[in-house]
Amino acid sequence: MSTALLDVEDLQVELITAGGVVRAVDGVSFTIGEGETVTVIGESGSGKSTTAMAVLGLLPDDLAVLSGSVRFGDTDVIADPKALRGVRGRTVSLIPQDPMTALSPVHTIGRQLVEAVRLRKPDLAKHAAEARAVELLDLVHVPRSADQLGRYPHQLSGGMLQRVLIAIALAGEPRLLVADEPTSALDVTVQAGILGLLLELQESTGIGILMITHDLGVARLVSDRIHVMRDGRFVESGDVESVVDHPSHEYTRKLLSAVPVLGPWDEDDTAGGDR
C-alpha cells in the first residue's frame, strides 16, 4: 500500500528486564491507511502495548532494543529516532489507557491543551490558542467547554478526561491516532461514547487509528482489519468478518468465547451517564 500512513515491517522489540531479555514483540508487520482502523487484539501480556509504544518511540532506549522498520510516510523512526521529534503530535498521537493519570495533576486542562495547540502553531497568540482549545473541546463534545479550561484534571470524570485527552491529541492535527485500550479504564457506561467519538472523528477527518484492545466487542465495533496477537506475534490477521466469523486459530476462538464487555451502545456519556 503506497498511501499508508503507517507501515510497520518485521518489528521486533527486546526488553531488558531484571529477569533477562524478553522478546516482547517478535516480528510483526502491518499497515494503516487514511481513514482506516487497524486493531491489535490479544490477551494481557501478549505485547500489544509494547508494539504501540515502539511505534511512538516511547520505550526507554536503554531498556528496549528495536529492529525492523516503523515508517510514517518516508520517515523510518527506527533507523532515525531523531525524526520522532517531527512525528510525535503532528503525524501520530497517543490516546492513553488510563485518562486519570495521563495529565499533569498540577496544571490546568487549559494549560495543557493550549500548550498542545501551540506546539503545532507556535505563532498563535494566547487568546487565539485558547479559542482553538475551546473549539477542540467542542469537537469532542465536552460540555461547557470554555469553563473547563480553568479546571484541573482531578475535577473531571474519567470519561470527560478521555475526551479532553482526545482533544489534546487532535491539537497537533495528526494523521494517525494510537489508542492503547482507550476505554478499558473507564466505566462501562461511557466506553461506547468514547468509541463512538473516535469513529465520528474518523468519519469527519479521515484520521487513521491503531486500536489496541483485549476486548472483542471493541474490535468488532471499530475495526477495518484485525491482527490477533499472542506472545509477541500475530497469529491471525484479516478483516473483521473473516477473523470474527471464521477464526482459524484456536487462540482466536478462545478470545471470541470471552464475553464481550461493552456498555450499551445507545447510552451517550454526554447525556449524563458519565460519573
Binding site: 510525535r88 493519570t101 495521563a102 499533569s104 496544571h107 495543557q112 506546539l119 475535577q155 470524570s157
Partner: protein, 311 residues
C-alpha cells in the same frame, strides 16, 4: 480550613510552651551556680547569697517558673546576668545574624540540590549517579562541626581566600553558610531525585512526550512543577530547623548569631538569656513551620480545590 488553622496554631503554641518549660527545669537541674559563675572564685558565701537574691534565685523553682510565665505575657524575659540588659533585647540583636545565615544556607541548598537532584534522577541507576549518591549520603552523615572544620582548613587556612570567622564582610558568610548547607544539600537533593524519578516515569509524562512536548519542558515544566510541592515543603521545614540548629556552626565560625549566644549563656549559667534564646528561636521555627504547612494546600490544586467530579 478555620478549625484546622486553630488546631495547628494550638499545636504550635503548645510546642513552644513545652520546649521552654523543659529548658527552664533542665538548666536548674544541671550542676553549676549562676551566682558563682557571675561573682568569680573569690566571692564569699554572703556575696553569693546576695547575688542569688538579686537574680530572684532564692525563690522556689515553682515561684520562679510562674514569674517567668507572667513575664512572657508582658514581654519581659528578665535581665541577662552577663549583659546586664534585657535578655530579649540581647537575643533580638543577634537574631538577624542567624536569620541571614539560615537564608544564605537555604539559598545555597536550593541552587545546588535542585539541579543535582534532577541530574541524578535523569541518570537513575547509572554508575555516575551511584557516585553522586555516595557523595550525598556521605554529606548527610557528616557532622556539622567536621564539615565546618574541613571547610575552614581548606578555604581559610590552606588557601586563605575567605575569612575564617566573624562577620566583618559578606565573605565571612560563605563558609558558615556552606557548612550548614552541606547537610541540607545531601537531604534535599535526594528528595528532588526521588520525586523527579517518580515524575519522569509517570504516565502523564509519557503522554506529554507522545504529543511532542520537548524534553526540556518535560523535565522543568512537568516533572519539576509536580515535584516542587514536597520539595518546597521540605525546604521550609529545613529552614525552620536551621533557625534552631546552627549552634555548632556558629560556634566553629564565631558567627555572632543566637547559636553562639546560647553557648555563652550556658557557660555563664545566664538563665534569663538561655530562656529568652530558646523562646525566641522556638517561636520563630514553629511559626515558619506553620506557614509551610498552611502554604501546602495553596501549592497543590488537588488539596486546594478538593475532589469534584462533574462534567
Amino acid at each position: 480550613m478555620a478549625p484546622y488553622l486553630f488546631k495547628r496554631l494550638g499545636q504550635s503554641v503548645l510546642t513552644v510552651f513545652l520546649t521552654i518549660s523543659t529548658v527552664f527545669v533542665l538548666i536548674r537541674m544541671a550542676p553549676g551556680d549562676p551566682a558563682a559563675a557571675y561573682a568569680g572564685p573569690l566571692a564569699t558565701t554572703e556575696d553569693l547569697a546576695k547575688i542569688r537574691a538579686s537574680f530572684g534565685l532564692d525563690r522556689s523553682v515553682v515561684e520562679q517558673y510562674l514569674l517567668f510565665l507572667k513575664g512572657i505575657l508582658t514581654g519581659d524575659l528578665g535581665t541577662s546576668y552577663s549583659f546586664r540588659s534585657p535578655a530579649l533585647d540581647v537575643v533580638l540583636e543577634r537574631l538577624p545574624f542567624t536569620i541571614t545565615l539560615a537564608v544564605a544556607a537555604i539559598l545555597i541548598t536550593t541552587v545546588v540540590s535542585v539541579p543535582l537532584g534532577v541530574w541524578m534522577a535523569r541518570r537513575a541507576d547509572t554508575t555516575r549517579e551511584l557516585g553522586a549518591n555516595v557523595v550525598t549520603i556521605a554529606g548527610q552523615s557528616m557532622p556539622d562541626f567536621w564539615s565546618g572544620i574541613m571547610l575552614l582548613t581548606v578555604f581559610a587556612v590552606l588557601i586563605p581566600v575567605l575569612p575564617a570567622s566573624g562577620f566583618a564582610t559578606w565573605g565571612g558568610l560563605v563558609l558558615p553558610a556552606l557548612t550548614v548547607a552541606i547537610l541540607q544539600i545531601a537531604l534535599i537533593s535526594r528528595l528532588v531525585r526521588s520525586e523527579m524519578a517518580k515524575n519522569l516515569t509517570a504516565p502523564y509524562l509519557t503522554v506529554a512526550r507522545s504529543r511532542g512536548v520537548s524534553e526540556r519542558a518535560l523535565v522543568w515544566r512537568y516533572a519539576m512543577t509536580n515535584s516542587s510541592i514536597p520539595v518546597v515543603t521540605a525546604l521550609g521545614t529545613r529552614f525552620a530547623s536551621m533557625l534552631n540548629g546552627v549552634v555548632v556552626v556558629e560556634v566553629v565560625f564565631a558567627w555572632p548569631g543566637v547559636g553562639s549566644l546560647v553557648v555563652r549563656a550556658l557557660e555563664t549559667r545566664d538563665y534569663p538569656l538561655i530562656q529568652a534564646t530558646v523562646l525566641v528561636t522556638a517561636a520563630l521555627a514553629v511559626t515558619v513551620q506553620l506557614l509551610v504547612d498552611l502554604a501546602y494546600p495553596l501549592l497543590d490544586p488537588r488539596v486546594r480545590l478538593g475532589k469534584k467530579v462533574s462534567a
